[in-house]
C-alpha cells in the first residue's frame, strides 16, 4: 500500500490550490497540482490518483456564473474519466468554487442525474462576504470526509454560495453539513447562514459519501493560529478543518 496520491486540479483562476495541497500533505498524502489542460491533453491521468480536489477560486473569472465554464469543461471533456474515477471507489472533494463547478457539471448530488435540479447562486445579501461560520455535521449522511466530526468552525469567502434546490433533488443522505449558530442551532439565519442557502445546507455529498463538496474552506483552518480568536482562547495544534483531510487520506489508504 503506497502513499495516497491527491490531484489538486488547477484551472485559470483557481487560487486556493497551494493551501489545499499543504493541507493534504500535512494529512500524510502526496499531492500534485495538475492543470485541467494537462488532463484534457492526456499528459496526466486521473486514474493515477486516489483523491481529486477541485479547490476554491474564480475559475474563468466566474464569468456567466460561478464555476460554470469549468463545469462544462469537466462535464464535456473529462466526464467519462470522472465517472470511472468515482466508480472505482475513489474520492472527490469540491471546495467553494469546486462545489459550484461540481454541482453545475451535474456530478452532485448524484453522478448519474438526468437533469440538473440544484444550483448555487448569488448570496441573498448581494455581496461577496468573508466570515467565519459554525457548521454542524448531518449524522445520517454517509459522507466519508466528515466521519467522526460533530461541529466545525470554518471561514467562508464567496458571493455565490446560496444553494437553490428543486423539490426532491436532495435526499437526507445527500445533506452533509449545515450552517448553525454558535450553539449549534441549524435554523439560525443570516449571518450564520451567510448566503441564504436552502435548508441552511453548507455542504452535500452523493449517496456513496465519496463525492463531497462544501462552500466553507476547511483548508483555511488546519492549524490553531488560523482560528480568528486564538489570541483569546489559546491556539490548539490543529484547526477544525484538518480532520476532513485526515479522513480523506485514511479512507483512500485502503484503495
Amino acid at each position: 500500500m503506497g502513499r495516497v496520491r491527491t490531484l489538486i486540479l488547477r484551472a485559470p483562476g483557481t487560487n486556493c490550490d497551494a493551501e489545499t495541497m499543504f493541507a493534504f500533505q500535512q494529512a500524510g498524502a502526496e499531492a500534485a497540482l495538475v492543470h485541467v489542460n494537462q488532463l484534457i491533453r492526456r499528459e496526466e491521468r486521473l486514474a493515477d490518483y486516489q483523491v481529486m480536489v477541485v479547490p476554491g477560486g474564480f475559475t474563468y473569472g466566474d464569468d456567466i456564473a460561478a464555476g460554470k465554464v469549468l463545469a462544462n469543461e469537466l462535464r464535456l471533456k473529462l466526464g467519462e474519466d470522472i465517472t470511472r474515477f468515482v466508480e472505482d471507489g475513489k474520492l472527490i472533494l469540491g471546495i467553494c468554487n469546486g462545489f459550484q463547478a461540481l454541482v453545475k457539471a451535474g456530478f452532485l448530488p448524484e453522478l448519474k442525474d438526468a437533469s440538473p435540479r440544484l444550483t448555487l447562486t448569488n448570496n441573498d445579501s448581494g455581496k461577496f462576504e468573508c466570515r467565519w461560520v459554525y457548521l454542524g455535521v448531518h449524522k445520517p449522511s454517509p459522507c466519508v470526509f466528515t466521519r467522526g466530526i460533530d461541529r466545525l468552525y470554518l471561514p467562508v469567502a464567496h458571493g455565490e454560495g446560496k444553494l437553490v434546490v428543486l423539490s426532491g433533488a436532495l435526499t437526507e443522505s445527500n445533506i452533509a453539513l449545515f450552517y448553525t449558530d454558535e450553539q449549534g442551532d441549524i435554523s439560525a439565519g443570516y449571518p450564520h447562514n451567510p448566503s441564504g442557502s436552502a435548508g441552511n445546507v453548507a455542504g452535500i455529498c452523493d449517496s456513496s459519501g465519496r463525492v463531497f463538496a462544501l462552500m466553507p474552506h476547511p483548508e483555511r483552518h488546519i492549524r490553531g493560529t488560523q482560528h480568528p480568536q486564538w489570541t483569546r482562547l489559546g491556539a490548539r495544534q490543529y484547526g477544525d478543518g484538518f480532520q476532513i483531510f485526515r479522513n480523506a487520506v485514511e479512507w483512500a489508504k485502503n484503495l
Binding site: E19, F58, T231
Partner: protein
Amino acid sequence: MHRVEVRLKSHLPDARGLGLVKDIDDLDITTVSTVRVVDIYWLDADLPDDELDLICRELLADPVTQEYQCSTPSFGGAVDQQSHTIEITYNAGVTDPIEGSIIKAIRDLGISGVRAVKTAKRYLLQGHPDENQVDVICSRLLVNPIIQHVVRSEQFGFPENPQYQFSLNQVEILELDSAGLLPLRRQFGFTDDELEAIRAYFRQQGRNPVDVELETLAQTWSEHCVHKTFKGKISFGGTTINNLLKSTIMKATEELNKPWCLSVFEDNAGVIDFDGRWALCFKVETHNHPSAVEPYGGAATGIGGVVRDPLGTGLGAKPILNTDVFCFAPPDLPYEKLPRGVLHPRRIFKGVRAGVADYGNRLGIPTLNGAILFDERYLANPLVFCGTLGLMPKDLSRRGQQSPGDLVVVVGGRTGRDGIHGVTFASEQLTGESSAVSYSSVQIGNPIVEKKLIDVLLQARDRGLYRRITDCGGGGLSSAIGEMAEATGVRVDLDKVPLKYAGLSYSEIWVSESQERMVLAVPPDCIEALLNLCASEDVEAAVIGEFTNDRRLRLSYNGNLVGDLSMEFLHRGRPQVKREATWQQRQYTEPDFGSPPDLGEALLAILGSWNVCSKEWVIRQYDHEVQGGSVLKPLVGRNNDGPGDAAIIRPVLDSERGVIVANGINPKYGEIDPYWMAASAIDEALRQIVAVGGNLHRVALLDNFCWGNTDRPDMLGALVRAAQACYDMAIVYQTPFISGKDSLYNEFQTDGETISIPHTLLISAVGVMDDVNRAVSMDFKAVGDPVYIVGTTRNELGGSEYFRANGFIGNSVPRVNPQRARELMNKLSMATERGLVRACHDCSEGGIGVAAAEMAFAGGLGTTIHLKAVPLGEPIERDDYILFSESNSRFLVEVAPENKDEFEQIMGGTSLAVIGQVTDAEMLEVYGVAGRKIIAKSLGELKESWQRPLRW
C-alpha cells in the same frame, strides 16, 4: 446576429436588483419598488436554432434559477406594463472580460462560428418613476459615460475596427519658434527646458523626430516615471536641495545600511530578507486619477498594476498580501455641492471598493490591511493607494540583467488602445472636462488573465527560463522596454505585438497601457521551453524584439524604422527641474469651548465619525483568508468585529515566522505642519507593528506622497518638510525606507477655484516577526486585569478628531520624540515576546477614549478608566483634552494580574501607569481628574455608534 436574454425566474429574489433598490432609495427616490436585472448577450454569428438553444440551455442560463429567450419581444417592455426598462452596454473599445470566457465556453460546447460577443444589462424598474427620476438613476447609479451608454436594442451592432494604414509621422520641431512649440508642449506635457533639450538632440541628429520618439520621451520623462520634482533642484530657506529623494529618504536607508535590505530603490519594489532563504518585497502605488473618472475600472487596474510590481521585482515574487488605503470626500455630501463632471463620493467609494475586491479576490491575494479617510477636498481627487507584498527565494531577489542577443518577449494580455496617455494624464490636473477627454485612459481589467500570467511566470522563474523581468505599467512597452534596455540597447518590431483589435498605429502600440502584460528577457536557448509553458496554460507570449549592445532604442514597424534614440539621451538627457520652495506655519483659531461635564456624547460622536467608524462593510467583502496564512486578521475579538491594529500572516506555511503589515496616515496634521504629519504617520505605523506583538528589529518603510501642485512654492515647501521628517525619524527608529512613490498635481479647478487635496503621506510598514505564536490582539480578554497606559499624554489636539468634531483645527499638532518612542517600543516588544501582554491597542484618532472603547466592545468586556492616573507631559486640567489628545507613541495594554510585576520591571524607565481595570459590567466608565464620573456608556451603545455609519 443573435440576442439572448437571461433572467431569474420570477419567484426568486433578485439580489442584484435588491441592492439597486437600496441605492435608489439612498437618492431619495421612492417611486421604484423593485428592480430586476436581465443579462443580454449579443452573439455575432449565424447559428442554427438547435445550436443557439444549446448555448442558452447549457451555458448562458442556469436551468434551476433562470429562464432565457432568444427572440423579441424583450423581457419587460410589452410583457410587464408596470416597468420602465433601461438597457446599458459598454462603449466600443472597452473590452469586457466576460466576452473571452463566453467564446471559449461556446467552443467547449463544440460550436464554432461565433465571431464575437457583446454583453449588456437590462434593468426593469417596477413602479412609477418619472422621466427625470429615470435620468437621475441612470446618471448617478447605472451609467458611467466614460465606459458605458444606454442602448436602444434595435440599433445594436458590432462596430468594425478600421484598418491601420502605415505612414511615418514626423513632427516638425527644428524650425518652430516657441509659440509654434506650444501645442507640442501641451500634447506631450513637456516643460520648456525639456523641449529645448529635445530640439538640441534632434538638431544634432539632423532630422525631425518621429511621433513615437516624442511619445517615448514624454513617457520616460514624466513625473510618474522619473519623479522629476523629487529629483529636482529645490531652493528652500536659503539652501539648495539637490535631489530631495536622495538627500532625505534614500539617505536614511544608505546611512542605516541594514544587511537585511536586499534591494532598495532600484527595482519595481523594495526587497528585504525574511529568513535567510526567502525574501519579501513590498510596493505601494496610487491609481488616483483613473479612479476619479471610472472608480471600478480605475481601482481594479490599480490593484492589477501593483500586483505586477512584486512579480516584476528581482526574478519575480509571488504576491501574498494586498493592502488598500482610500481617501474620499464624505459619503453624505449633498448632491448640490458636487461640481460638474465629478462623481459623487459615495459612488466613488462603492466603485473603488468593488473594483479592488473583484480584482484582488479573483487573483487570490488576501486583502489584510488598509484604512479609509474622509475629507471634502478629496471630492474631485480621491486617493486610491494599492499595495502588494510578495515572496520570493532570496537568491532570486536581485534584478536580473539581460545579455545582448536575448529576446524581448511580451507575455499576458493583448495590447489595445487602453490607457493611452495614462502617465501624462496621471501627472496633470483634473478639470471639469477630464471625464470627457480622458476616456481612453481607463479600462476594465481582466484579473484572470493576470492570474494565469502569475501562475506561468512563477513556473518559468523556477525553471530559469528568463534572465530578467519587468512589468508593463505606466507608459506601457515604452517605459518597460526603454528602462530594461538602458545598459544594452534594444530592437523592437512593433508589428509583432499581439493586438486586441486591428487599427492601432505603431505609436499607439508602443505607449498603450493595456493591463496584464509583463516583459521578459529570454536567452535564445530557452525560448522554445518558455513558449511551450505559456501555451500549456493558455497564456499568450510573443517575441517582439532582441536586446542589442549598441545602447540605442530602435523601433520598427513592418520593416520600417520608426524610432531611433540613444539610451544616453533617453535616460540622461532630461534637464533637471529647478523649483522654489517656501514654508510658513499657518495659524488656526484655538478652540474656545469649555469642557463638557459629560463626555459620553462626544465619545459617541467620534466613534461614529467617518474616519473612526467601523470599516467592516468593506473588509468583509475582501477575502482576507485566501492562501491560508492569516494569523491576525483585520477584524478581531469576541465577535470577530473589532478593529485590529495590523495584520500578521505566515507567508511560508510550514514555518513559525510571520510578517506584519501596517500603515500610518494623518493628513489632518499636515494642515498644521507636514513635518509632524510625516513623523506621526511613521510613529503610527510602527506603533501598530509593536501593538500586535512585533518589534522594530527588522521593519522597513514605504513612502507614498500625494500632494497638490508642487509648482507652487508653498506646496513644495510642505513636501520638503515632510521628506525631512522621514529622514529624521527613519534614522532614529532604525527603520529604512525601501521603496516609494509620489503622485503630485492632485488638484481640481472648478468655477475659477482651485481645490487641492490635503498633503497626504501614507507610510506603509512591513516587519518580520520571529514567532507568530506571540501575536497579540487588541480586544480585552479577562475580567479584573489592570489596564496600563504606556507613553506620555500631552496637550496635543491640533488636527484631532475631537477638535474637528467641534469645528476647529487648532495648532498643537502631535509631535514625536523618536528616541524615547523607540526605547518605549523596544521594551513593550520585549514584554509581548515574554507573553506578558494580554491585549494591546495603540492610541490614535480619538486618543485614550476611542482606544479604551474599542478594546472593550471588541472583547465584550467593560472597563473603568481613571484619567487622574494618566502620566502627563505637561499640566492639562481638562478631562476632554486628556481623554481625546492624540499624542503619539502611546498604547493601552491589558496585563494579567500575575504578570504585573514582571511587566513593570521590563517597562521600567518609560512613562507607564495603571489607569483602569477590565470589568464584567459591559460598560465603559471614565472618571475625570477630579474623580467625577464623566462617561458611563454601555458597550452596546458605543459599538452601535461605531458600526452604524457604514452598515451599507
